[in-house]
């Protein structure tokens, strides 16, 4: 069944709208269901944070939206952008969209820049590809503008990538993604490789994006702190599914899904007074557990959770969640609410 997605920003149409997106990889053991039925919308100028443990399909989803997937991956579902389905497009049309309308920022900026090309070459190439009519001066103008907004002085325009520090390189990548002013950007763990203070600088830049550029952002991260600081809405991903999504304040203050709650509780922050963790590890995506995929690790699992897939419903304070604890009650079969007897999860299964 197609879940009806509630509009957070109902005044405008979403920039990007994903419906039941699935990305599977074929292996000798069977298909890895890295992304398995994910739906969400992102409004113009909105930042959606995508969090979860590693191996939950966050990066695969981000790449899938861009159409950048390794050979052997298969996609299904729909990603609507500007009235077109990105997933069913011909590769040629998808190329035309990338850069101009869909941008991407990566985790490890140094390896993402061609070491033999100057920064100027990267910009010229990108701008020319989508705007072949532009004169050399105009191209330089636009490139320098983008750099300036990222705090990179114009004196460095003709430098090579290896001449920059880590934080500068990430700024370069952001400038390169923004230079054509795309409507939607996927940022895949953009701060993971950076130092604490530089990470905070980049988070700030990303946070400013939505105000200054009206660019929508899908921010993939494993750091819930960054989501809290730089995102409007959050989608919590577990084992290829988005288990809960909604406004950051709503979700973090009042998490409905036990996974969201446990994830927040296991995060060590300055206010941590005790250590909490989620037992076990994310499931093997070749053969995910029946029913709710979180039920083997869930402290509140019920009988129904092990047998029946949870239904995607509206959260009490807006947003969506799929968990039998929230409902719908009428769908739970007789006796389904009794607590699930679980085996003790040994370290042998831990992540």
């Amino acid at each position: 069944m197609e879940p009806a997605i509630s509009m957070e920003a109902s005044s405008t149409d979403p920039v990007i709208s994903a419906r039941d997106v699935r990305v599977w990889y074929g292996t000798t053991r069977g298909a890895i269901r890295a992304v398995d039925g994910v739906s969400f919308d992102i409004a113009p100028g909105e930042t959606l944070g995508l969090v979860g443990e590693s191996g939950c399909g966050k990066s695969t989803l981000g790449r899938g939206l861009m159409g950048l997937l390794p050979p052997g991956a298969k996609r299904d579902g729909e990603v609507w952008f500007d009235g077109k389905d990105v997933l069913s497009m011909r590769p040629k049309d998808a190329y035309r969209l990338r850069g101009v309308e869909l941008g991407m920022i990566f985790q490890e900026p140094l390896t993402r820049l061609n070491p033999l090309l100057r920064i100027s070459d990267h910009f010229e190439e990108t701008i020319k590809q989508h705007d072949p009519g532009l004169s050399k001066d105009e191209i330089k103008q636009r490139a320098l503008d983008a750099l300036r907004q990222m705090g990179i002085p114009p004196t460095r325009y003709r430098s090579y990538p290896h001449e920059f520090s880590g934080g500068m390189r990430q700024r370069l990548m952001i400038a390169l993604a923004l230079v054509l002013k795309p409507a939607f950007i996927v940022a895949d763990e953009p701060t993971t490789a950076l130092d604490v203070l530089v990470e905070a600088q980049i988070v700030q830049i990303l946070n400013d994006l939505r105000r200054n550029f009206r660019t929508s952002l899908l921010l993939i991260t494993h750091n819930v702190g960054i989501v809290a600081e730089a995102c409007d809405r959050v989608a919590v991903m577990y084992a290829g599914r988005i288990v809960e999504q909604g406004r950051v304040a709503d979700v973090f203050e009042n998490p409905q899904h036990p996974y969201t709650r446990e994830l927040l509780r296991s995060t060590i922050s300055l206010r941590t007074t005790g250590l909490n963790f989620i037992p076990g590890s994310p499931p093997d995506l070749v053969d995910p557990p029946d029913g709710c995929r979180f039920h083997p690790r869930c402290p509140e699992a019920m009988a129904v959770c092990a047998t029946k897939n949870p239904i995607n419903i509206e959260r009490p304070t807006g947003g969506r969640v799929e968990c039998w604890l929230v409902g719908p009650q009428e769908e739970i079969p007789e006796g389904g609410t009794r607590p699930l007897k679980q085996e003790e999860l040994a370290v042998a299964d831990e992540a």
Partner: protein, 439 residues
Amino acid sequence: MPTKPDSTMPDSTMPGSGLGASPIVDVRDLSVHFGLRGGTLARLFGRDAGVVKAVDGVNLALAPGEVVGLVGESGSGKSTLGRSLLGLAPATEGSIKFRGQDLASLSRRSLRDMRRHIQMVFQDPSAALNPAMTIEEAVGDALRVHGMRSAAERRVKVIDALERVGLSPVELFLEKYPRDLSGGQKQRVVIARAIITGPSVLVADEPISMLDMSVRAKILQLMLDLKKDLGLTYVYITHDLASAKYFCDRIAIMYLGRIVEIGPTEEIFANPRHPYTKALLRAIPDPDPGRQLPRDLPRGEVPDAAQPPLGCSFHPRCSEATDICGWESRDLRTIVEAHWTRRSPEEYEAERSLVGDLDHLERPEKSATLGKEGAESARAFLDRVRSEAPDDPMWRGVDMIEDEGSGVRVRFHEGVDPALRRSGGVEVACVLYPEESEA
């Protein structure tokens, strides 16, 4: 919900004092320098291109049973300091004493024997295990190295160590290779290998930073349990102040090879003194959605350690810097370039032709020349730069601007390289915190 295990806290955590009769590890004026690799010719003749002072005059005493955190960004020397405690990074100057014995005085052989007592846990558990060894071989090798010949004897100890770190049932793991284990399990193996020789000090170099959020707390809990059971002393190296706050009794904040602030954890967090500590505290992402994003982050990044800033090495990024913090030519370049990021292209081109290339400012000097078209225009240019960011601390460092050649020479005040000084309950290396008696 377990709370902070107070029972394991030593009575006194004051730096330098109250450590009891003898610290278990005593680091005095330690410096560790590395030679940089030079060009092809230099490499051929074994000459170095320069020296990085990875650790630069550090004092640190560990009381038995305490947890000391070394916190800093990359390049702060925290890992090198940790490695030097095992003699893995040889000291250039100063001494490291373990139970009164100076590591430098030991022969290679006795240094290796000594490592039984100080052990290490590494950041990336996947890299820290030999891919070609089974778990049993990997953990048991520590014993084999220290002369335990019998495989059966080793096995008994290995099983015990693996059980201690929670890898049970042990039979499931003994014959496995590292690649068959998850990140958390591998880190447990690394910890098992570290404790199997019965050490008294454990240097943990970012033991949880490569692990998934949901496992971090588990490993931290394990380390706390082991500390209680085995009476270990920890050096906890991290860039994450949040875990340090929970885990450590005492914290040393490091920046470019120096300790800039050290003191009891509560004091550091309740009342951070060094601007760098404050900045780090502000920068920690916090899952509380009510928190505002910090607006006043230090600019720039950790500088090149081969050519650290003059004076206090944090001054170029410091918002509280004063006139004597060590301002120099490179800071001028930074501020001019920052100015240019706010100019229109035409203005930039015009100004650029006025002052030319700034590459000559790359060499650290106490004064800097600027301008090609006469002193007047150079002064006007500097005024424009200044009017845009009049509060930039660099201007406090400018002593005078005098005419010279085709432009001006900007002279900076003489800088001070602050030493660690007592201030309240902590020690801090910052000119804002002079000696207690003066304060």
